[in-house]
């Protein structure tokens, strides 16, 4: 379509006769049908954006490193008869590497996982506004609702990859340091390695569902501000306040509605039979929080004036 003269190749823009853009046909992707955005394309773009952020690899790196550090620490302390206490499942690791992933999950779920979720979701809108790319992206014919949904989904996918890395790291280092054996459940029964892996997977899916609340909360703040740090801090503050509040008996009435109350309910997968009731209750609360907050984020973002 365009003819470029030597001046352009020498480094200057737009020589005479360089462009006749309006004559460009559909081959340049301008057909009405072709221009309709597809959900898959939106997710793919968000995934590429995530891959081009250094912080993504830092968190994934951490998800891989933590099972290693837990395994190493417990391996070195194995012979210490006065070995200290640790989070749930820690005492079982030395006899079975299968528990490394669960111990990592127990250690991370109260704070570091919410932090990671708040960070990735907080960046989704506010980070783009901060960078200035939000205004150039929204000049494309994309619906704000779809854009927001793609952002939410990709934050969840990002965390799911983090969980997968943590499971892989846990099994790898657990296997290396302690070996992988049939698991003894909290009820005292034994399940095979295959079933154990299934339960670990279910536990991680439950934790991922819990993180959907944080993602939605952070995404909501992300639509309110043009600073990803503000969104992150606001989310963590709210999370900590809720976590602290539900410790007090005065707020017993509030507890069943607060998602942090259900974070550790994944341990019920390791009872025989599985205690589904608290798990399902937790999932219901997570869905409620996540749904309401994501909808609130949509309402804000739909009318947001992009001034960044």
């Amino acid at each position: 379509m365009s003819v470029v003269d030597p001046a352009a190749k020498a480094g200057s823009a737009s020589p005479a006769g360089a462009v006749r853009p309006s004559t460009a046909g559909p081959s340049h992707g301008s057909t009405a049908a072709g221009m309709r955005g597809h959900a898959w394309g939106a997710l793919r773009r968000e995934w590429i954006k995530l891959l081009f952020q250094r912080r993504s690899y830092l968190i994934w790196g951490g998800a891989f490193l933590i099972p290693f550090l837990i395994s190493l620490a417990l391996y070195l302390a194995k012979s210490d008869p006065h070995g200290g206490e640790g989070p749930l499942f820690f005492e079982r690791i030395t006899s079975n590497g299968m528990f490394v992933t669960l111990a990592s999950l127990s250690a991370l779920i109260p704070f570091l996982l919410p932090m990671a979720a708040a960070m990735v979701a907080g960046y989704m809108i506010a980070g783009e506004a901060e960078l200035g790319t939000l205004r150039i992206v929204l000049l494309r014919p994309t619906r704000r609702g779809s854009f927001l949904l793609a952002k939410w989904t990709m934050a969840m996918v990002y965390l799911a990859v983090g969980f997968a890395i943590m499971i892989a790291g846990g099994l790898l280092f657990g296997g290396i340091f302690f070996g992988l054996h049939p698991m003894i459940t909290l009820s005292g029964s034994t399940v095979g390695v295959g079933q154990g892996l299934g339960l670990i997977g279910l536990s991680c899916l439950y934790a991922l569902a819990a993180m959907a609340c944080i993602v939605s909360l952070s995404l909501f703040f992300s639509t309110l501000t043009d600073s990803s740090l503000t969104a992150l801090i606001a989310t963590i503050v709210i999370y900590i306040v809720i976590t602290v509040l539900i410790q007090f008996s005065y707020f017993d009435w509030l507890r069943p509605w607060m998602f942090p109350h259900y974070l550790l309910e994944f341990t019920n997968f390791f009872r025989d039979p599985i205690h589904w009731r608290p798990i399902l209750k937790g999932l219901g609360v997570f869905a409620l929080w996540s749904g309401v907050l994501t909808f609130a984020a949509y309402l804000v973002f739909r009318r947001k004036d992009v001034l960044s």
Binding site: A8, A13, G17, S22, F52, R135, P141
Partner: protein, 341 residues
């Protein structure tokens, strides 16, 4: 040309047979107590290279954001390529390319990947098309480099490249030559002219008057969120038909000329008389002066009022700036040696 300075509200311009591609209808945007855009009625016709002029803070970027759906109007609406904004924003944006403020990109991605990513939001973009637009803006040799390392001027050019990607009918450029070196400015202006010649409508926001004068066919001057003048650029510069007269007796000459042209038609300007008259009136004017026994020493055209002066007059920027200039001069005087004495 219509002008608020003449006392009347600027009239909606007709496209004279051409289809309007961008119109605004009483478009208003209020931020708290600030009315950034105030009942804007504007029409850009298909094929125009439309200049959007105004001093800093006039509301140019706010209007662009409104028209492109980045912000929501307090009242009124825009119509872009036949689609109402904000109601049918996505349909409108399929026909528009451009950028607002400085174009920004994902710094860790290459120029090519940025174009691929942004372009795919409108529709599939071939690698050939990406190559073409990169060549147009002379960034082919930096296609694989990370945008984070680009200069401001290179980012401006990449901004134009992404605007061209899907061959839009309307291109909106917000101060595209800002930060470019003279060669870069010349090239971008040339590109804009070529886009116009190829039938693309270009909406060019600028505060560089000569840029608009060089490139645009029609223009609007905006001040405090309102249009103060709009029309063809050739008519933007005021028609200044006046002559300067020097005679042996300026006092008597003034009396004679006021008889001919009225009291308001003759102004004493230093040693000259400035007469509001066109060339055709000059022979009669000289005949009358000679008949009155007044020695005519010179009759010369009065210098035209520049677009810049006209702009300052319309926007009030000159008058508003005077107190500031006085303060600055006073401040400088204090800083200079002996200034405190």
């Amino acid at each position: 040309m219509s002008s608020e300075a003449e006392g009347a509200r600027p009239e909606q311009q007709s496209c004279g047979g051409r289809a309007p591609i961008l119109t605004t209808h009483a478009l208003t945007k209020q931020f708290g107590t600030l009315r950034a855009v105030d009942g804007l009625d504007m029409e850009v016709c298909k094929g125009d290279i439309f200049g959007f002029l105004g001093p800093n803070g006039a509301g140019k970027t706010t209007v662009i954001r409104l028209v492109l759906g980045l912000i929501h109007p307090t009242s009124g609406y825009a119509e872009v390529c036949g689609h109402r904004v904000p109601g049918q924003l996505q349909d409108a944006l399929r026909h528009v390319g451009g950028f607002v403020d400085d174009p920004t990109f994902y710094p860790l991605m290459s120029a090519r990947r940025n174009l691929r990513l942004l372009g795919s939001m409108t529709g599939p973009v071939s690698e050939e098309r990406i190559d073409e637009v990169l060549e147009i803006v002379a960034l082919s040799d930096r296609a694989e480099d990370r945008v984070g390392g680009f200069s401001h001027g290179m980012k401006q050019r990449l901004g134009i490249a992404q605007a061209l990607l899907h061959s839009p009918e309307l291109i909106v450029l917000d101060e595209p030559t800002s930060g470019l070196d003279p060669r870069g400015m010349k090239d971008v202006r040339e590109l804009i002219r070529e886009l116009g010649a190829a039938g693309t409508t270009v909406f060019l926001s600028s505060h560089l008057l000569h840029e608009v004068e060089q490139v645009c066919t029609r223009a609007v001057i905006l001040n405090r969120g309102r249009i103060v003048v709009q029309g063809p650029v050739s008519e933007l510069r005021p028609q200044n038909e006046a002559v300067k007269v020097l005679t042996g007796d300026q006092g008597r000459a003034a009396e004679v000329l006021r008889d001919q042209f009225g009291a308001g038609g003759v102004i004493e300007d230093e040693s000259f008389l400035v007469v509001q008259a066109d060339e055709a009136a000059v022979p009669e004017m000289i005949r009358r002066l000679v008949a009155g026994d007044i020695e005519v020493r010179a009759v010369v055209p009065a210098p035209e009022q520049g677009l810049e002066d006209f702009f300052l007059e319309l926007t009030g920027a000159d008058a508003a700036g005077e107190p500031q200039r006085r303060k600055r001069r006073a401040g400088l005087a204090r800083l200079l040696p002996g200034g405190r004495r």
